[in-house]
């Protein structure tokens, strides 16, 4: 069992993590940090205290990269730009490369993968040595910088969101409110070298599962989501108990019969109509205008029981409580001849009710039902029915053509009105929370075995045009912030998107007079 007994297992490939780190970097989700470090020198005269302060400002020079190590650890490599300020006004530019050890986490409230940073190590440091400081001073600067960056990276930026929302906590047709969202409990996290990170959660108070029993089922895809059958039952039971989807419906139907349907009863129909209208006392000719049936019913559905079978098959059973009324009518026009055909004296069109049928408390049994597990258009896990046995205890000995309609109508209404069988909410929400970045899914596979459903897919995102904070105009040579009115007027063919203003300026663009005035050089 790939899910190891957990309700839900989510596995994510490091390539996808790096995709979302690039987006996070471009969106500025990996912030700049700055502060002041005071040298621990005792007994400094008050007028010299300010010279004990070392200011620092660090920002990311490039997007971080994430890696699963061969030994099963996680690390992030960050290259940062730092500005160090000494003696109040002397500034040094440098770049530092950090390697950060991290552990994977699945965040319950947001249902996204995150990583928890545990320690940072400076791998490389480049200082713009314009002031020719002694080596010993440089070494001390490195120590200060290391302390400051470690503190920042472990205290202030301890978690980084890495993924889209893996699955929704919202089921369809549920009341609003937190009580009707799926409660999620943390299970475990684990790394599958060389490239996959796993998180497992349980639902609705369940606490079982073993991380050592979980296997990598991504098969090279960006994401794999495994859902245990036990979780499906818990989700369906929870949904059935609270859903606003109607379980009892009133339905109506009618049907006009064509003569071939009742050819065996043609003479009888004429007799029945004439007899009730004339008592057989007068000679008439009869036009048979219409024969039709009207039906109405109240259907109350019970919760289904289901069981996953090998090869993506589901067996189901249930019942429907039925109250049904059926009326069969004919419309005839009778012509009464006076003087035996010399002229017509009375033509009357009448509707005759041939059958008035009613029954209540009927239990329709649904058995040997078969279905398949599918992902619907919202990527919710559902059961799609493909076949079923229906037993309808009808108490009426009426002509077969009437029973034919009643049975076909009841069956079609049961199938069409049946509440959905919801096994799991939507997987992979359509947008990255708090952004305009949309998520696309491709290469989707759904494998069902007897105990679980395994979904794998590749994830794509909308392009930089939907999230890059800076937009340059190839025509005018200006760069704007995204929300600038002038940015909105740039023709699509002239747009160039940038994640950092520095890159745009390095490419020769000038800041917009209105939105980036400090970078407008005229």
């Amino acid at each position: 069992m790939s899910t190891g007994g957990y309700d839900v297992v989510m596995e994510i490939h490091e390539d996808l993590i790096n995709t979302f780190l690039r987006i996070a970097y471009c969106l500025g989700r990996l912030p700049t940090f700055e502060g002041i470090y005071t040298l621990p020198v005792p007994d400094v005269p008050p007028d010299l205290l300010e010279f004990m302060d070392i200011g620092y400002r660090v920002s990311l020079a490039r997007e971080p990269t994430f890696e699963v190590t061969d030994t099963g650890g996680l690390q992030i490599t960050i290259r940062g730009e730092a500005v160090i300020t000494l003696l109040g006004s002397i500034s040094f530019d440098l770049e530092a490369q950090f390697r950060i050890a991290a552990a994977p986490e699945f965040d319950q409230p947001t249902r996204q993968f995150r990583i928890e940073c545990s320690e940072a190590l400076i791998e490389d440091l480049e200082l713009d040595n314009r002031y020719h400081l002694p080596a010993s001073v440089l070494a001390k600067l490195n120590q200060i910088l290391a302390i400051g960056m470690e503190a920042f990276l472990t205290d202030e930026v301890t978690t980084i969101e890495l993924s889209p929302v893996i699955f929704s906590a919202d089921l369809p047709f549920m009341p609003a409110g937190e009580a009707y969202r799926l409660p999620i409990g943390l299970g475990a996290a684990r790394v599958f070298p060389p490239s996959v990170v796993m998180g497992a959660v349980n639902l609705l108070g369940y606490t079982g599962g073993s991380s050592t029993a979980v296997t990598d089922f991504t098969n090279g895809h960006h994401i794999g989501i495994g859902i245990n059958e036990a979780a499906m039952h818990r989700v369906y039971d929870f949904w059935w108990a609270h859903t606003t989807h109607p379980k009892t419906m009133d339905v109506m139907g009618s049907y006009e019969y064509d003569p071939p349907s009742f050819v065996d009863f043609l003479d009888a129909l004429i007799d029945w109509g004439t007899a009730i209208l004339t008592g057989g006392l007068v000679v008439t000719e009869v036009d048979l205008d219409r024969v039709w049936i009207e039906a109405e019913a109240t259907m109350g559905f019970s919760k289904f029981t289901f069981d996953l079978l090998p090869g993506n098959a589901v067996s189901l059973s249930g019942s429907v409580n039925l109250e049904i009324g059926v009326n069969v009518y004919m419309q005839i026009t009778t012509t009464t001849n006076l003087f035996w055909g010399l002229w017509e004296v009375d033509e009357t069109t009448s509707t005759v009710e041939l059958f008035d049928l009613y029954a209540s408390g009927i239990t329709v049994i649904i058995n040997n039902a078969e279905g398949i597990v599918t992902l619907d258009s919202s990527r919710r896990l559902m059961v799609t029915l493909t076949a079923l046995d229906i037993d309808i205890p009808l108490p009426w000995s009426v002509p077969e053509f009437i029973l034919d309609y009643i049975v076909d109508w009841v069956v079609s209404r049961i199938v069409s009105e049946m509440p959905p069988i919801v096994l799991f909410p939507a997987v992979i929400e359509q947008t990255l929370p708090g952004t305009a970045v949309s998520i696309t899914v491709s290469g989707e596979t759904l494998e069902i075995n007897e105990t679980e459903a395994l979904v794998t897919m590749n994830i794509g995102t909308s392009g930089a045009n939907t999230y890059a904070p800076y937009i340059a105009n190839m025509n005018s040579g200006e760069v704007h912030v995204r929300d600038c009115d002038w940015a909105h007027r740039i023709a699509q063919r002239n747009r160039v998107y940038y994640c950092t203003l520095e890159d745009a300026i390095a490419d020769g663009y000038n800041g917009c007079y209105y939105c980036l005035r400090e970078y407008d050089t005229g």
Partner: protein, 118 residues
């Protein structure tokens, strides 16, 4: 659909609604009665002492429905077994049993009687 049928009075004789049955016997001999019934059926019935009230209508309806049930049984008995699967199930006291297939792509429903097994 309109199709014109001439009614066969002989066939209607089985609908012997009392007191109509008495009138039917007299019509064969009394042409004047026949003419009066054709000219004014309700008025003539009243003259003959037949009060058409709710109780009368219910009595006639009950007799009429009973004849329909009898006619149905007779006609159904002449229809081959393979053309009346649901009727046979109902007559035997069993539920109507069907096997339903649903095309997962189109949603088209196919229903066939299920006469063997559970």
């Amino acid at each position: 659909m309109q199709r014109r049928f001439k009614v066969d009075p002989e066939r209607l004789k089985r609908f012997s609604f009392e007191p109509f049955a008495g009138l039917q016997r007299r019509i064969a001999e009394d042409h004047d009665l026949k003419r009066r019934l054709q000219e004014d059926l309700p008025g003539t019935l009243e003259e003959e002492g037949i009060v058409v009230d709710d109780a009368f209508r219910q009595m006639v309806s009950d007799q009429w429905h009973a004849q329909i049930e009898a006619d149905t049984r007779l006609i159904m008995a002449t229809i081959p077994e393979n053309r009346k699967p649901y009727y046979r199930m109902v007559q035997s006291g069993e539920p109507v049993k069907v096997r339903v297939s649903i095309d997962p792509k189109t949603g088209e429903i196919t229903t066939v009687p299920r006469e063997e097994g559970p």
